[in-house]
Symmetry: C2
Subunit: 595 residues, 2 copies
């Protein structure tokens, strides 16, 4: 069915339910980055497949809001649908809520699926609409009523994350979370975010691509814990193990009746950014205690055992990359035709041969020259480039291993890159090294570290439009909080940088239509010195893979920067050499030569 | 009367008024940094003369809260008063509000002088107390009832800030502020902060030390403006001029009846951090529109004509410092006994000889060795050091000129400083240069620039406990917002760094009991490049005075840092040479030699 027909069906449904408008965000009841197909209502209704966007449909208007990353794609995919592209972020484009306030009459009823709206957003819409005399309906699902072939929820089995890869016991995790609850005088804690749940219970799944999580909710009490997960996903043996740790199994939907059964005034802790209005609507009698999930900070602070496992996973990941690059360069040298799609395939195959590999941690980005200038570029069978001529190839990829999650970006030469390309590469490398060499007091707000990486670029009038670093999970989501090395991140106290946090270091530079550069390693915040002036931390670089020195203009590096690069390559060589042989070994030796 | 007797009298007054407690903050109705004696109720009641502190008195308890800068002084001054020193900032010391909640019974009535409590603080106290069943009384003044010899309010005359020093017209300022009011659909704007008022009306005064302001309120309407100022401060001629610009004069206290006379629902714009609860209590019928004062941002963005005047003021200030330092070094060389107090006297005398000088812009800090390690040290006739032996002298001083406000810190050698002292000086100089050389996109949050200055120190395990930069007024307060180069500043959107902002660059290093270093220049944010990657700004250093190269270890500077220092000294020499002669000229030439 084309999108125009779907919008037509949706409008009929709105009329049937006496609704004047319907908001369809891109979200699920767990506020995940990757949505199961079942929850891709916005994709289904609009035909636009980008990861971010909101659709607003009224009787006379349909508009899709999405940010600049997706404007080209959305324009193409919306053609003929009758849906207007609303370029979110442009000054003259109102937010969906403001559009609704400006165009809908008093008394209008606006539906939004409360099951997938986070509490903060739902409150903002309710306040805004009600102040103008409109109504927000959170309990209706007009899209669901017309989406007759809606896919079922995923049903991948859940498995246990076991020692030696799991380094903390389920009992310890529960005890630590309960200590956080007691700090807020809470008796119950509701978790809906899938990485919090997987971490808390040492469980993993495969319900969505790339993130090893499973659809569930958890209700933690001071003496018991209940896991709400679809029947059949957890085998009998695992159920028994969970029972032994005081975790009772309940059906996925039973969260509703259990929340409803909480006694009047029961102190229920929730993170308003990490639960949905629809889930909480089942708990009208609870007294909400709003605070960050204690599990968020606990899982961000990796233990030394976890850090040791991540180092081992990095060796496997680095060795896989040596194999990939050796084969890639040999194929190019032999004149074989290689495309961006081949890069993805070859790199995933190389990782799949390494021990403890589970899956990619996100969709590989392989962009040659102009394609590399689009930070979220995805090559497709319909549209991709062959690696022909001269230039730079940007590869951003990562793996899920039982002992850690990796995320690495390298830029390598194809043919003979230009001097301007080498100058840009060197500038980005200087930014990368500036952050790698940083030392800072314990608890420094992570957003403020962003200027350290950017200053070498800023001083040359260069910049990039994304953050410099995101937190990374431990065999979990490749994007996790709370830290964020992004100068324009909305500041929150929990962004303080602490020992044990794993964060990406990924400055970049993008010349539209020409080329893109990003150099990304993962770094671990570790103890530095304790002096009369404070308790200092520094970064240990975890990622192990050569940075292509053929792209560096050595004269543009300071002695200290050159020293960092040579030291890094000596480390990469020493750590990866035991894991590679044949052409991969030769490649490693060549690419880790001192500069 | 000793403080113990004053507390006793206050307690009797509390009983007489049926009050259980009384909070006495350090503030006035204008929320100023410097308080007229009339508003120094906390000093009067406690005997503690530090600039920051709150006194809480109940029938059985009296406690003075102050931060670590003042603990030693407070301990001495509170001795025998029966007032407990509450070390604010220590983990186990509750805030005054939390102390009150923990110790006072339900139903207790707590008085705080609403006339001097900012709206935000008053709301926080009211919410906290009422939630616990206590009452807040903002309209009582038990201290005033027992303070029989309370000094009168200051009555210095008000004068006009005239061209060429005033670079914007009163009419333009009023128009710009009214545009800000219209953006918020406000019909009235209440200004109580004295620098906003002085700036808006091109008026200056001398009611408090160092800041050229006068006690007043202003009520700006869309077609009229009313200035509330004590009778006699403004002469007939000036009153006529003001009248011509649509500014009506009213008595200082008439703000109360005029606010009360605002019509029901009148849209009144106020900045909750810059008006007091007591002033606003007179406007119960107005509809408050809470937003930053438009004047705050307008006065922070210096015009090019103002920048040109500041550069001229800096030449006068620099020339005064050349004279001072030449005389100071000659006196030391001649074996004269010089104390920290002499430094203050000589430096003020040198400035007083320069054109357009009005007054010091704050109390000079002159601290030798260990005294320099106290960032807020004040030498007194009772306690000060003589400059004998070897070490470092820190001098932080500034002047008010008709064409600008200066603030400069230099550290100079006395005798032969140690190698450790030189190493520290050089480290601080590297931090200073790092910020001086920064380039950054327009609108970069100013707090994030702090890491740029600190990183050279952090990398050596060094740090300092104050911010790196504060905004500076134009012949106005030496501390003004909204920008703040302080990584731990509570972030607000208006802290974005913009062209025209004048900010201090003052990293430091303090070794308790040994020595202190701070190198401070004022910098102006100016246009840098516009590139494909954005609109970049950089800093022009405004302050003109040699940085003592006898304290520098040149080998610890990079070529770029050395280049900055030599370029700076070439500029200082060229700009100051026309303004000095004799020994001051010789001194300037010697101290600006290339390194």
């Amino acid at each position: 069915m084309p999108a125009a027909d779907r919008v037509r069906a949706l409008r009929a449904q709105l009329r049937a339910e006496g609704l004047q408008a319907c908001l369809i965000p891109s979200a699920d009841p767990h506020l995940s980055e990757y949505l199961p197909e079942h929850w891709q209502a916005r994709v289904w209704a609009s035909g636009f497949t980008g990861s971010a966007g909101s659709l607003l449909v009224t009787d006379e208007f349909a508009g899709l809001w999405t940010d600049s990353r997706y404007w080209t794609q959305a324009e193409a995919q919306l053609r003929g649908s009758g849906i207007a592209l609303m370029r979110a972020g442009q000054a003259e484009v109102p937010e969906p809520l403001d559009w609704a306030l400006a165009h809908l009459p008093r008394g209008a009823r606006v539906a939004a699926d409360g099951r997938v709206l986070d509490l903060g957003t739902a409150r903002r819409w309710r306040t805004g609409l009600e102040a103008a005399g409109l109504e927000l309906e959170l309990a209706r699902d007009p899209v669901g009523a017309v989406w007759t072939d809606r896919p079922a929820l995923p049903a991948a089995p859940v498995y246990e994350h076991l020692p030696p890869h799991a380094c903390r016991s389920r009992a310890d995790n529960l005890a630590a979370v309960r200590a956080g609850m007691r700090d807020h005088a809470a008796q119950w804690l509701l978790l809906s975010t899938l990485d919090d749940i997987a971490w808390l219970l040492n469980l993993r799944g495969a319900d969505v691509p790339y993130n090893p999580v499973f659809l569930a909710h958890v209700l933690v009490g001071l003496d018991e814990a209940r896991l709400y997960v679809a029947t059949g996903k957890i085998g009998e043996g695992l159920a028994h193990v969970l029972h032994g740790d005081g975790v009772a199994l309940r059906g996925y939907d039973e969260i509703a009746c259990d929340l409803a059964a909480l006694p009047e005034g029961a102190p229920l802790m929730v993170d308003p950014a990490r639960v949905t209005a629809g889930t909480l609507a089942h708990a009208p009698r609870a007294r909400l205690i709003e605070a960050a999930n204690p599990s968020q900070m606990l899982k961000a602070l990796k233990t030394s055992a976890e850090a040791a496992n991540i180092r081992r996973a990095m060796e496997q990941d680095g060795a896989a990359l040596c194999e990939f690059f050796a084969g890639f360069e040999a194929a190019l040298a032999a004149g074989k035709r290689i495309t961006e799609l081949d890069v993805d395939e070859r790199i995933t195959a190389a990782r799949a041969r390494r021990r403890d590999f589970v899956s990619p941690s996100f969709a590989t980005i392989a962009g040659f020259n102009a394609n590399g200038a689009m930070p979220h570029y995805q090559a497709t069978p319909q549209s991709h480039a062959a690696l022909e001529g001269d230039g730079l190839l940007l590869i951003d990829s990562g793996g899920q291993y039982l002992g850690g999650t990796t995320d690495i970006t390298r830029v390598v030469p194809v043919g003979r890159p230009s001097r301007a390309q080498l100058a840009d590469f060197t500038a980005v490398l200087r930014a990368h090294i500036a952050l790698a060499l940083a030392r800072f007091p314990d608890g420094t707000p992570s957003p403020a570290l962003d200027t350290v990486a950017r200053m070498p670029l800023w001083r040359e009038g260069l910049d990039y439009g994304h953050g410099t670093g995101h937190g990374v999970g431990y065999f979990l989501n490749v994007h996790e909080g709370p830290q964020s090395i992004a100068v324009r991140a909305r500041p929150r106290p929990e962004q303080a940088m602490r020992v044990g946090m794993v964060t990406s270091n990924e400055p970049g530079l993008y010349r539209e239509g020409q080329w893109g550069i990003r150099i990304e390693n993962l770094v671990l915040a570790v103890e530095g010195e304790r002096t009369a002036f404070g308790h200092f931390l520094c970064f240990e670089t975890l990622t192990l893979c050569p940075i292509d020195t053929r792209c560096v203009l050595p004269g543009a590096l300071s002695a200290e920067e050159l020293g960092w690069l040579n030291d890094y390559h000596a480390l990469v060589r020493a750590r990866l050499l035991p894991w590679v042989e044949g052409p991969a070994r030769d490649w490693l030796l060549a690419r880790t030569e001192r500069l």
